[in-house]
């Protein structure tokens, strides 16, 4: 006796749950019930769950009956020829979809050879035990699990051709690899998912070698000539969007080059690239801080009377400028309008990015690194055939991470390049022996190692070096978007402390824990200097203990409370003065006593 649930709702009691389950499955296989209906028997709770709702991930599997998979070799043959369709196989009950719950009741064989009487299902292919992301990686069965995780996470960050209609899109930021290639060691999933038409990397000659120590800690040494030939180049596109809004009270934004009476005017040069309408032309070069769209907005707050009298216009410059640190050529300008009839202007700026020291690259095995040195081609080590690596990775990257798949990929890539064919690196399909045979046939060592000669001295390197072809992806973390330093610069209005963040040219925070370190070291003066970014001179009234102000009319310093001028000059952080002011506003009277 047990309970039956449909989509989680109790519908009734049934005597023999097992029989009901068998009947439902039987009917589903015969096509009398929907394909996406799943039953799940929880034996220890005597519950049978029937699910036909949305949101369940289904997986196709081959039905096994009496220890025999129903998808026979003949059927396979027919399927390839197109005599049988995929749908027909489901209608006939040869294949079926299981959800995560029903999988718990199933006993699924991975390989056809291991099918026994007890098995209920068989995987379509051993590689299908992996998800789409993991099955994009070559030789996944050779790597440790976490590396697959890292690897598939970084595939997402790789620049390639993300969508083919990128030219008419207006993504805020996009990066496109200039000459993407299909990997030498490819997986079947690549073709199946359509990603073969959206490659995101290049096949590079990799040597596993140390070179002057510039590739320690996962750095990469790159051949300068390879870069000059176009390796890893990409386009970075950023779209700037602005709207000409209409405000309450008849005021509105105007798209036009501002005249000199407008507040917050930028230097003349910033507007020099604009056309007469105030919008930059297509294919015009724009540097950092150059205006793309000149926009004049009404000021946010009407100022004091005096300013209005002098005759400064109550308009301010609100132009769209190229981000600091970025530059490029205008790719396209889109003019359109929103639902309120207000003008929208989108300007896409394209920047050509040549790899430089600090740019990030990664393989599909979770092996990432940044360029540590760019070496002239003549100094790169070479083989007897004159092959010079594009990239030199450090041997220390391999043992602790155990990415054997990467080594095999390098060897496979080499074999494939020599024989003029791509290698199948799908999970559980890769054939190491075959790859070795191919290399032998081409007259190379079967482990991919070769004798290398030092590019500078011409001397033979003592050890044989693994050199081959691997797939490298350029990730979208570019140094030029991250590098940041400051000595002096902008401060915030409220606290007079340095601004925060790269985009605002901010300072680097010397935080609480860093402060503790200086204290622990006893470096009191260094500490004082660090925290004096907002130091300020004040006058404090000796009798009232409040901060006095300078009365320029009378030419003296005056206490706001007693109006006396018995004051002392003190130096303290502006932020503390702000705290005192805020306390005053909260009806707390902090009195300063100056000794």
């Amino acid at each position: 006796m047990g309970f039956v649930f449909i989509n989680g709702n109790l519908v009734g009691k049934v005597k023999d749950l097992e029989a009901l389950r068998a009947e439902i499955i039987e009917n589903r296989r015969k096509g009398r019930l929907p394909k996406h209906l799943n039953v799940y028997l929880i034996e220890d709770r005597d519950e049978l769950h029937i699910n036909i709702d949305g949101g369940r991930v289904l997986r196709p599997l081959i039905v096994v009956k009496n220890g025999k998979p129903l998808l026979t070799p003949e059927l396979k043959e027919k399927l390839i020829k197109g005599e049988v369709t995929w749908k027909e196989l489901f209608d006939k009950g040869i294949l079926e979809y299981l959800d995560a719950d029903e999988e718990d009741n199933a006993y699924i064989a991975v390989n056809e050879e291991e099918v026994t009487e007890e098995h209920t299902h068989l995987e379509l292919d051993p590689a299908t035990i992996l998800g789409i992301e993991a099955s994009l990686l070559p030789f996944p069965e050779m790597n440790r699990g976490d590396r697959l995780n890292y690897g598939s996470r970084m595939v997402v960050q790789a620049s390639g051709i993300y969508l083919k209609n990128y030219l008419i899109r207006d993504d805020t930021a996009a990066q496109l690899l200039v000459y993407p290639e299909l990997p030498m060691a490819e997986t079947q999933t690549l073709e199946a998912t359509g990603l073969a038409t959206h490659p995101s990397g290049q096949n590079l000659v990799i040597a596993v070698l140390s070179y002057e120590g510039y590739n320690i800690e996962d750095a990469l040494i790159v051949n300068k000539a390879s870069l000059e030939r176009g390796m890893g180049r990409s386009y970075f596109m950023r779209t700037y969007i602005t709207e000409a809004r209409k405000y309450w009270g008849g005021q509105e934004d105007i798209i036009a080059i501002p005249t000199s009476d407008i507040r917050g005017l930028r230097p003349e040069k910033a507007y020099s690239k604009l056309s007469e309408e105030g919008i930059i032309n297509v294919e015009e070069y724009a540097d950092s801080d150059d205006v793309l769209v000149a926009k004049i907005s009404p000021i946010r707050f009407i100022g004091i009377q005096e300013e209005l009298r002098i005759g400064i216009s109550n308009k301010r410059d609100n132009s769209v400028v190229v981000r600091r640190g970025e530059e490029g050529v205008v790719e396209k300008v889109i003019l359109t309008e929103n639902e309120n009839g207000e003008k929208i202007i989108k300007v896409t700026v394209r920047e050509y990015k040549i790899p430089e020291i600090g740019d990030k690259f990664a393989t599909r095995h979770g092996q990432k690194g940044v360029i540590g040195m760019i070496v002239p081609e003549e100094d790169m080590p070479f083989t007897k055939d004159g092959i010079k690596p594009d990239i030199i990775i450090n041997p220390h990257a391999i043992p602790s991470r155990m990415t054997v798949g990467q080594l095999l990929e390098i060897v496979a890539g080499k074999a494939g390049a020599l024989m003029g064919q791509r290698i199948d690196a799908t999970a559980f399909k890769g054939d190491e022996k075959e790859i070795r045979e191919m290399l032998k046939k081409a007259g190379f060592r079967d482990d991919g190692r070769e004798i290398l000669y030092d590019g500078k001295t011409g001397k033979k390197l003592e050890a044989q070096i693994l050199i081959g072809i691997g797939y490298y992806q350029r990730l979208y973390h570019l140094v030029s978007h991250k590098m940041h330093a400051r000595s002096r610069g902008k401060v915030t209005l409220l606290t007079k402390q340095p601004t925060e963040g790269r985009s605002k040219e901010g300072g680097l925070r010397f935080g609480e824990m860093e402060k503790d370190c200086l204290i622990a070291y006893g470096a009191a003066m260094t500490l004082k200097e660090r925290f004096s970014s907002d130091k300020y001179k004040f006058y404090v009234c000796n009798s009232c203990g409040v901060i006095a102000y300078e009365n320029k009319n009378k030419g003296r310093v005056e206490c706001p409370v007693c109006k006396g001028s018995d004051v002392k000059e003190v130096e303290m952080s502006y932020a503390f003065k702000l705290l005192l002011d805020e306390l005053l506003s909260m009806m707390i009277y902090p009195k300063i006593e100056v000794k």
Binding site: K515, D516, I519, A520, G522, L527, S573
Partner: protein
């Protein structure tokens, strides 16, 4: 170095005394001078930020502990809180540790397996439900019938009468009668009572303690080298120390508050040092004792144990700004305004806030003008 060496000797505090450790006491002349010089050098200098150094020396390794869980599988042991949770427990001065535990050492006469086990069974708390087979309400007589389990009774070295006596001692509102050598009849003394009262009594009786020391839930008798030692889960130091055969000098509990109450604040200070140090050492962290000693001193200097934190040491700083800088800014500022507190800017954080040199290290030195 010397300070460290002596600290490693079993739990003594000779670091604090100025006399040299025994190992160095026969030094003479030049060597003695050299040793003393080195000793002086090892001492902290004027203006050294000992507090910050101590805090960093403890908390930096503590961040690593979290990442390395240490387990010993398959060993007969009592599971006690270890690692970072225990360290937090110590410095937060939790009234009751998550796993209170005692280590009971025995006097020489009692130091054998038989006596140790006997003592152990005396210590372990036994409640009625531990020796009971069932308890049922007799509806016809309106009494509670408690049936004891023969084996369980034997295991706990008990018999019906002792159980009855213990029960009648602990519950004065009921009468207890021995029916046969395994059954006790309980009857409320009140003239009027109903089924509900009986049921309530039944649940209360189950938890009633019949033997042992209250709070001691589990017990483990083990041989530690040549010696027999009893480790317990649950702690009641006062009662255990009253027992005959217990070595009163070495027996201890990990409950700091209990030690402070029974043995005094100095003992509690030593326990903080010992527990914190052992917790760190267990995780493979070699922190100098003196850092922990400093923390323990600060925690106990007022005569009661204060936690490190909002409601303890940090919350009772003299400076308003220092307190406001830590936690509950508004609370401290309003309180200061209400009471008219004065900040003399004598400590570190206040001076960082206003932008002065902190009175630490190089900030301690002032120029003295000649008149």
């Amino acid at each position: 170095m010397m300070a460290k060496k002596s600290a490693k000797q079993k739990n003594d505090d000779s670091v604090e005394s100025l006399t040299l450790p025994p190992k160095y006491q026969n030094l003479k002349g030049k060597k003695l001078k050299e040793a003393l010089e080195r000793y002086e050098k090892m001492k902290y200098e004027y203006g050294e930020a000992v507090g910050v150094v101590a805090a960093q020396s403890i908390s930096e390794p503590a961040t690593q502990i979290t990442l390395r869980a240490y387990h010993a599988a398959g060993r007969v042991q009592l599971v006690t809180t270890k690692g970072l949770p225990r360290l937090i427990e110590i410095f937060d001065a939790k009234k009751e540790p998550k796993t209170p535990s005692m280590s009971i050492y025995l006097e020489p006469d009692y130091n054998n397996a038989e006596k140790a086990h006997e003592l152990a069974s005396k210590i372990k708390e036994t409640s009625l439900k531990d020796v009971m087979e069932y308890d049922a309400i007799d509806l016809t007589e309106m009494v509670l019938e408690i049936k004891l389990d023969k084996n369980k009774l034997q295991n706990h070295l008990l018999d019906v009468t002792t159980v009855r006596n213990a029960l009648s001692k602990s519950m004065a509102t009921a009468e207890f009668e021995v029916k046969d050598d395994l059954t006790i009849i309980a009857k409320p003394k009140a003239k009027q009572y109903g089924l509900k009262d009986l049921q309530a009594m039944r649940t209360r009786l189950r938890e009633r303690h019949v033997k042992g020391i209250r709070g001691v839930k589990q017990i483990l008798v083990e041989k530690d080298g040549e010696e027999w030692k009893i480790t317990t889960l649950g702690s009641n130091l006062k009662k255990v120390l009253e027992l005959k055969g217990v070595d009163k000098r070495r027996t201890y509990t990990n409950n700091i508050f209990e030690v402070a109450e029974v043995l005094g604040i100095e003992a509690a200070r030593n326990l903080i040092i010992r527990e914190a140090l052992n917790t760190l050492r267990e995780q493979g962290v070699d922190t100098d004792v003196r850092h922990i000693m400093l923390v323990a001193d600060i925690m106990t200097q007022t005569g009661v144990i204060q936690p490190i934190g909002r409601y303890g040491v940090a919350g009772s700083k003299a400076s308003v700004l220092a307190r406001a800088n830590f936690e509950e800014t508004v609370k401290h500022l309003t309180k200061a305004a209400y009471l008219g507190e004065k900040d003399t800017l004598t400590s570190v954080v206040e001076n960082v806030i206003i932008g002065n040199a902190v009175p630490v290290g190089t900030g301690m030195i002032k120029i003295k003008y000649k008149d």
